[in-house]
């Protein structure tokens, strides 16, 4: 079953979500970006260069790995892992960064900026900045800098300046605010590489399009390696870029169930979570788009909680908001504890350290697999590797390095 799907509209709306909610100074810059991106996506030489970089610099295609021991242990559906953790820099973030860096180059921008939560997007941005010779500034909340000290050092090694963000909750959303402030100030020579499918149009569409390489590879690899498409595709959702990347090519395949996994933190009922979709948060406007947003009754954005810095975000990409309403994707949430358990299990049974973000998707697969027949296929997007999280996991286990 293949059904047509063509969102967003020309103004970047996914139904009532998305759009361009920014101060006037950025309106022309976003229009310039939209025009440049439209031109590039139709330009064979740009597409060719993008694919060449993905192959030779990132190391794509990333394999789909059949986690046989884990599947046997669970005694139900087969668990397949899309190994984005094997990409250069260790996560799916690099796919988008390569795309935006090539675009920045074509637009003649010499300086790139980025926000980062877990540090994966910051590292990927610092990496492409080094690769293409851009000046690079990464904004990071001070709380995240503490949680992800190794990634901070990595970014510095790559030549980036890492600017600590002290405002608000000192996490990803505040880093995004600060990066926006930088962009509005240096808009003529600076390209803002947003790391997820959020922000004002065209970012949600553009980041999705660069990330769809994940899902397109899966379509081919599943046919070649398994003779059919999976029964379900499961991915974690913070802003939601790895999920959009793997879901998008599957949207028309209506017999494939798509499952987005948010961070339930200490539990949805405790209020200490980062799951706007699963907790039925109201829609609101933040960071340039309208989407489901964790907020208090007065419209103030509230602090979120997740063991995984990359999922610790009060909003979600606007296309996910639309996909929730349309029912095409089901959204669930997984707690810190469940994600940690999945992290340890994958280490022990498959010799793979997943990122804590990706461990959320894996935990959901582990939850549902035992009840399913062993010929069912669950394709999990293993969006990143977990080396960056060893400190957090060790701390949870009471171990100090």
């Amino acid at each position: 079953m293949v059904k047509k799907y063509s969102l967003p509209d020309a103004q970047g709306h996914f139904g009532p979500y998305g759009g361009i909610f920014v101060a006037e100074t950025l309106v022309p810059a976003l229009e310039e970006l939209r025009v440049a991106f439209e031109a590039c996506r139709q330009d064979a030489s740009f597409v060719g260069e993008f694919e060449h970089e993905l192959r030779h610099y990132v190391g794509r295609p990333s394999p789909i790995y059949h986690a046989r021991r884990l599947s046997e242990k669970l005694g139900g559906a087969q668990i397949l892992l899309k190994r984005e953790d094997l990409n250069h820099t260790g996560s799916h973030k690099i796919n988008n960064c390569i795309g935006q860096a090539l675009l920045a180059k074509r637009m003649g921008k010499l300086r790139v900026i980025a926000e980062t939560g877990a540090g994966q997007h910051g590292v990927a941005t610092a990496t492409v900045a080094a690769r293409f010779g851009f000046k690079c500034v990464v904004y990071m909340g001070t709380e995240d800098m503490e949680r992800q000290a190794a990634n901070v050092y990595r970014m510095k090694l790559l030549g980036a300046a890492v600017v600590p963000v002290e405002s608000g909750s000192k996490t990803l959303k505040d880093a995004l605010n600060e990066a926006m402030r930088d962009w509005v100030t240096n808009v003529s020579d600076t390209f803002y590489i947003i790391g997820t499918v959020a922000g004002p149009h065209p970012y949600p569409m553009m980041v999705r399009d660069f990330q769809t390489v994940i899902g397109r590879e899966c379509l081919t690899q599943m046919t070649e390696g398994f003779g059919r498409q999976p029964d379900r595709v499961i991915a974690c959702v913070g802003g939601g870029s790895n999920a959009m990347g793997i879901f998008y090519p599957y949207i028309p395949h209506e017999d494939v169930r798509l499952v987005g996994v948010e961070a339930a933190g200490e539990g949805i009922r405790t209020g200490r979570h980062a799951a706007p979709l699963t907790s039925n948060a109201r829609a609101g406007v933040l960071h340039g788009n309208r989407t489901y947003l964790m907020q208090d009754g007065n419209g103030q954005v509230i602090e979120t909680h997740s063991i995984s810095a990359g999922l610790d975000y009060p909003g979600v990409g606007p296309e996910h908001a639309w996909l929730k309403d349309s029912g095409r994707v089901e959204y669930v949430a997984v707690t810190d504890e469940e994600a940690l358990d999945a992290f340890h299990t994958l280490c022990r049974f498959e010799g793979i350290l997943p990122a804590l973000e990706s461990a959320h998707a894996l935990a959901q697969a582990m939850k549902i697999a035992p009840a399913l027949a062993c010929d069912k296929l669950l394709l999990v997007c293993l969006s990143g590797r977990g080396d960056k999280d060893m400190h957090t996991v060790a701390e949870r286990s009471g171990i100090q390095f």
């Binding site: 103004q11 759009g19 361009i20 909610f21 920014v22 101060a23 006037e24 100074t25 950025l26 309106v27 022309p28 810059a29 405002s167 608000g168 959303k173 505040d174 605010n177 926006m180 402030r181 509005v184 100030t185 240096n186 808009v187 003529s188 109201r282 829609a283 609101g284 406007v285 933040l286 960071h287 340039g288 309208r290 947003l293 907020q295 009754g297 007065n298 419209g299 103030q300 954005v301 509230i302």
Partner: protein, 271 residues
């Protein structure tokens, strides 16, 4: 005719420039906001921009960010901001009040509820930083129907076509952001302003105010030479931040008067 239009008409007849100070409602606390507004008027303010605090003020520099945080810690909400306007309006029926803030608190209240309550409270204009005209057509229509002005921003990056589009949606006055950056930055380009403002006025057929980065009387005066209004935010918020609570009103009034005097030196200079 709206209170904002009347104000500009009277000023223009007298050859004077509008002084539009900004403070954040609830900073340092809700009780002091009406007295501060009174001090602004006593110091010579023509219109007051009252900031509605938001948790994620993306277009603001550190000074107004901090004022927003102080106000939120003390429990300021959009409902309470409207109470403040109502209290101010009960004793001052002449000075227009423009609410300035971000979209989400308004959306949380509901756009049409907000427009109703704002009109009842005596608000005259609304400036929503992250509502470009394309994203708020219904809100614009609601405000217009309620007789409230919607003030839009224009930026150094805006094209002439953009002047036209934004002017069509807005009323009252247009707010030209004098620099690429956030509020409170300090990189004014006078030549740019002198070149752009007359062109915006030609297209827009309404008064043009200039703000972001105006920090003293000298700069205010130079901007006043070309603009119809001068908006001062961060510098006044800084005055509040630096003052002991009991001195805040007096200091704000003194600072405002300094700007007023400088602007009034321009009276007749263009005849």
């Amino acid at each position: 005719m709206s209170r904002i239009q009347i104000t500009f008409q009277q000023l223009q007849a007298a050859g004077r420039k509008a002084l539009i100070p900004f403070i954040t409602a609830g900073d340092p606390d809700g009780e002091l906001t009406v007295p501060l507004m009174r001090s602004l008027v006593a110091g010579g303010a023509d219109i007051i921009e009252l900031g509605v605090p938001f948790s994620d003020p993306m277009a603001d520099g550190p000074v107004i960010q901090r004022s927003s945080e102080r106000a939120l810690v003390k429990g300021m909400t959009l409902f309470r901001v409207l109470d403040i306007v109502r209290a101010f309006r009960s004793e001052d029926t002449l000075t227009p009040v423009v609410l300035m803030g971000y979209a989400n608190p308004i959306e949380a209240m509901g756009q049409s509820v907000f427009v109703d309550l704002a009109r009842q409270a005596g608000v005259d204009g609304v400036l929503v930083v992250d509502y470009p005209p394309e994203e708020c057509a219904e809100f614009t229509a609601n405000l217009r129907a309620a007789g409230l002005d919607q003030i839009f921003l224009l930026a150094p990056t805006s094209s002439e076509q953009r002047f036209r589009d934004v002017a069509r949606a807005g009323s009252g006055y247009l707010y030209y952001v004098s620099l690429k950056g956030v509020t409170g930055a300090a990189r004014l380009d006078f030549d740019e302003i002198a070149c752009r403002i007359p062109r915006i006025r030609d297209v827009a057929k309404m008064p043009v105010g200039v703000g972001f980065g105006i920090s003293d009387a000298e700069i205010a005066k130079r901007v006043g030479e070309v603009a119809d209004a001068v908006v001062i935010g961060s510098r006044i918020v800084q005055e509040i931040e630096a003052s002991p609570r009991e001195r805040a009103c007096a200091n704000v009034e003194t600072f405002t008067r300094g700007i007023r005097i400088a602007l009034d030196e321009l009276v007749g200079a263009h005849s």
